[in-house]
Amino acid sequence: MADPVIEHADAVVVGLGAAGAIMAERLAGAGLRTVGLEKGPDYTQEDFEIKHDEVRYYQRNAIVAALTKDPVTWRATSDDRAVVAPWSAGPLGVDEPLYGLPSIGTGGGSIHWGGAAFRFREADFRMRSTIVERFGEERLPDDTTLVDWPFGYADLEPYYDMVEWEQGVSGAAGNVGGELREGGNPFEAPRARDYPMPPLHQAAADHRFVEACRRLGFHPYPTPSGINSEPYRGRAGCVYCGFCHGFPCHVGAKSTTQVTSIPAARATGNFEVRPFARAFRVDRDESGRAIGVSYFAGDGQVREVRAEIVVLACYALENVRLLLASGINENGQVGRNFMTHSYGWFTSVLPEATNPFMGPLTAASVIDDFTSELIPDNDAGAVWGAPVLSVTGDLQPIEAFHIMPPDGPRWGPGLKEWLRDNYTRLHRMYSQTSSFPSPRHYCDLDPVVNDPFGMPVLRITHDWDEIDVATVSYLSRIKHRIADEMGVLERWQDSARPPYHMSTHDVGVHRLGEDPASSVTDVYGQVHECAGLYAIGGGQFPSYGAYNPTLTIQALAYWCAEHLLDERGA
């Protein structure tokens, strides 16, 4: 092997996605020469100008880290042999973006994301205490390692605000400084100010959902969305093309960091991107301090960036893989506390055509009447609820085929007629219940399977627990009530024990905390055992709210960047 080519910088950021691009923007903005190592391409808007192609993006995983190149293995328990994620890499090779790794390239997972931009609730930061106070300790799953966050919603609020205003989020405020606002979420935690943009236009089917929820006494509000509802900070407003979740945006309306923080970082003159760079090791000096990152460059050559600040921001799972591959796991906490979402997809046929191909996934509404601590005591055994979201748009025909009823016609005239008669009338709901951390749910390096570069892949050990099934089942009753009230003709739902054990919502595996013995990073993302190394992203979450993680991931990135720079006196 040729000698590695070494370059020097002040900071190196691995992964330029939702969190990494924000770190890069802040570090470069503070005058630090920053190099970004990105596994995928360095995209330009021209790459996405004509992206209205379901086969390319949804069926042939054009922008995601496909399992052929980036395998992840899974087993239900530590007694099983792990296999490459069978729900994706099975005999059909249907690698839909939702149940694999996030998109890569500048913008990372914020390219493919649907845009759901929720803040966590106040109670989400003290999930353990809240459950214990309400139901008693005995209602927690026996072996859960659930802990409260070492800080609260109010601490993170200014950073949520920063994401909403700097990245761009559309929505209707429900609670500004304690004052409830008509049209927003009445259960919302107080926010300092409104969203910078009004909500997106509701797609057709959402009217039925909203009216039905109101009649049932629920409180629907527009899904907050990282998509411009009107021109904002030099970017266009959404044109409602309906190729959104799983697709890049062709007009730059989605608040992907590729069009927000990356250009801002570049504008400082202190930032450079190394595309097609696969980081494989954090390099350390004899004292154990991080001194840089080694990577395979696009030409296959081993290169290294030496820097005093090393930031890992390449998704919870990949962060863990890099930490473990670098021998950073003295306290055995790296990879523990794996948490993910079970979506509880619920699909209905409406009485009339509502054109579900129009508009983004988030041009719709949601109820929080049963979210987190708001769930009433119940005989199902659920102790932590989830929002119920209406999904009205962003549904192309092949995806519609994949969500057909399990007992529906599979071939022949019946299949053809089913799609002909029902495609334009489909409506979906989902909840995303959070799993509980447990010693049985973790990630480590697979002892057998390597990626095409010869590096061990990540292995997930996870199975759905009774409490997960209980929560999905409880929320299923709510969805049935809403569907009945909507007057749907037919309805069906996913199993409460879904086949997937990974989505782009996997978190918790490099937990933040004050105690170096029981967490991986400190409150501001610095890895306890390795000075100069920061692991940023959903991997830091001590517990999991039932909302999409992106807004909280980005708020944490601003929070960590600010603290890092304060410490340096920059």
């Binding site: 209205h52 099975g90 005999p91 039925r208 409602y240 062709h250 508009g359 025909p397 085929f401 071939w411």
Partner: protein
Amino acid sequence: MSEALLFLNRAEAATVEALACRIMPGDEADPGAREAGVVTYIDRGLAGFFRDQQGFYRQALRELDRHCEERHGRRFSELDIGEQDDVVGELDGLAQADVGGSLLGRLFALVREHTVQGMFCDPAYGGNRDGVGWRLVGFPGAQWGYRVEQMRPGFDATAIPLSTLADLRERAERDADG
């Protein structure tokens, strides 16, 4: 008029098309897999993105013909429609029992998946010829965007002219020319 074949041989193409036509049957008046060009979609896919599945397709198609010759004395594509439907029902049973468990079950599951892709892909992929798949289900295709009035309940989207990736490119080039 026949399309060029880039991977499948003529007999294999006939078998794939016959299978696809049982999954999405049709005729001139009510187009299905044949009219949409599904076999062209699959053949081009196998020559490109699905190249890792070339060996599987070849082996499994041979097995299907062997199976049909043993049962009915003819290849799958030579059976009458009723016989083909019996075979497809059997294959689908295998696929539902264990999709990876048998060559024929997996073949059916894959062809079913690829037939649907060939019905609803952009016509640039060789399937969904003249947008027949999109017309069937009421999908207007690759649209630059929709107006708020079009997103209201009760809007008749079948009035929107179909648009393809080629149309969007043309539009972009027109815009670039001013």
